[in-house]
Subunit: 201 residues, 2 copies
DNA sequence: TACTTTTGTTAACACTGTTAATTAAATTGA
DNA sequence: TCAATTTAATTAACAGTGTTAACAAAAGTA
């Protein structure tokens, strides 16, 4: 009797329709405004049916997080396979990473918990510009004393800032507590590379 | 008549008490669980009084965001002033940045919209490890072909990943739309520095 | 057909931010 | 000092949110 098989198939279809409806919501209004109620409304079922297929809202987000990392991994692998040498591969993967992030913004923001609220907020915080200025002035001095005096200070500032934020936020995502003192060598490694490239070259 | 002055002073105290109560909430349960109702409860006033001092919840968060950036700017400046050469300053500022982030985790997460949800999520996503493996294997190859064959591949992977994520997320925070093709030179700049340090040294 | 299991719905709970209408308090003017 | 006015604070509600217990309807099994 194929009844059991059909039921499994139907359950799978139902599950897919939930994810599909959720995805439409996300593309329209972002993760913040995704709600179980809206999904239920879109698939024209009552709210609790969704809980027959997903334990909670978090489980739905987890599904998309997995999908996102799978897509990213695929994109990186594909970029890697187009080159032979590891240096070229790392460069190609970097571009692929960048492209993935901005071509799949919703995925990326979910995967790394990038809250959009800060987006609107940060831009009206002049205090941030104070911080920028401290960084930029030092970068300018460094360039002035370096061999490559026509380096783009704003570019270098952006790089410096991004490296710092990247190190910190990846660390925060991966582990909850304070990072061990040893973890600072990651910072040391990354920033010494930057400074060397900035000053000595 | 000092009544007006007293009223202004009281209003300022009230405002401060709201922020103070909010901060206690944040330290206890994080940004996600901060609510107007809990603040009102803590200061033993009804809910709407809060709206006499802050336009909305976002305005309260904005206040803390400003404070956070001010603290960060101060920390950076202080670190900078302990050194004379720009290279040493940039290094010291990097450590100060790192320390600020982990000593003021709540501030940092608010300032850069780091959603904690991803924290719990990411750790149970095996798909992320697939992505890591693609990166790590390439890093390993690069090290094998480099002059410094006993470089720590995991450290280098972490650095590579952090640079990429930092560049992307800073870009996403600063501007809403897709970054122009020119913005890719930031990526090129940062990643070429990393690859050079990894392979050629 | 009668029984059992699965599936879906209604209604509610406990929250959230925000605001209109109303009452209480404080200040001002006569 | 007393009435009028302005300011401050409250109650109650609106429109949402995730989640779940209790119940009804449909489907499958004997």
């Amino acid at each position: 009797m194929g009844i059991a098989e059909r039921k499994i198939r139907q359950k799978e279809e139902f599950r897919a329709s939930i994810l599909s409806a959720a995805w439409v919501q996300v593309l329209t209004d972002g993760w913040q405004s995704l709600s179980i109620r809206k999904i239920a409304d879109a698939i024209e079922y009552s709210i609790p049916v969704i809980y027959n297929h997903f334990e909670n809202k978090e489980a739905i987000l987890l599904e998309f997080t997995k999908e996102g990392f799978q897509k990213l991994a695929d994109a990186l692998e594909q970029a890697k396979n187009k080159h032979t040498g590891p240096a070229g591969q790392l460069e190609a993967m970097a571009y692929a990473y960048w492209d993935f992030a901005f071509d799949n913004k919703e995925f990326y923001q979910l995967m790394f918990g990038l809250g959009i609220p800060a987006c609107d907020r940060v831009n009206q915080v002049i205090e941030m510009k104070v911080m920028s200025m401290v960084m930029i002035s030092t970068i300018k001095e460094a360039i002035a004393q370096s061999k490559n005096k026509d380096a783009d200070y704003f570019l270098k500032y952006h790089t410096y800032f991004s490296i710092l934020h990247g190190l910190v936020s990846i660390q925060m995502i991966e582990k909850a507590g304070k990072p061990s003192a040893e973890k600072k060598i990651i910072l040391q490694d990354a920033i010494s590379g930057f400074i060397t490239a900035l000053v000595a070259i």
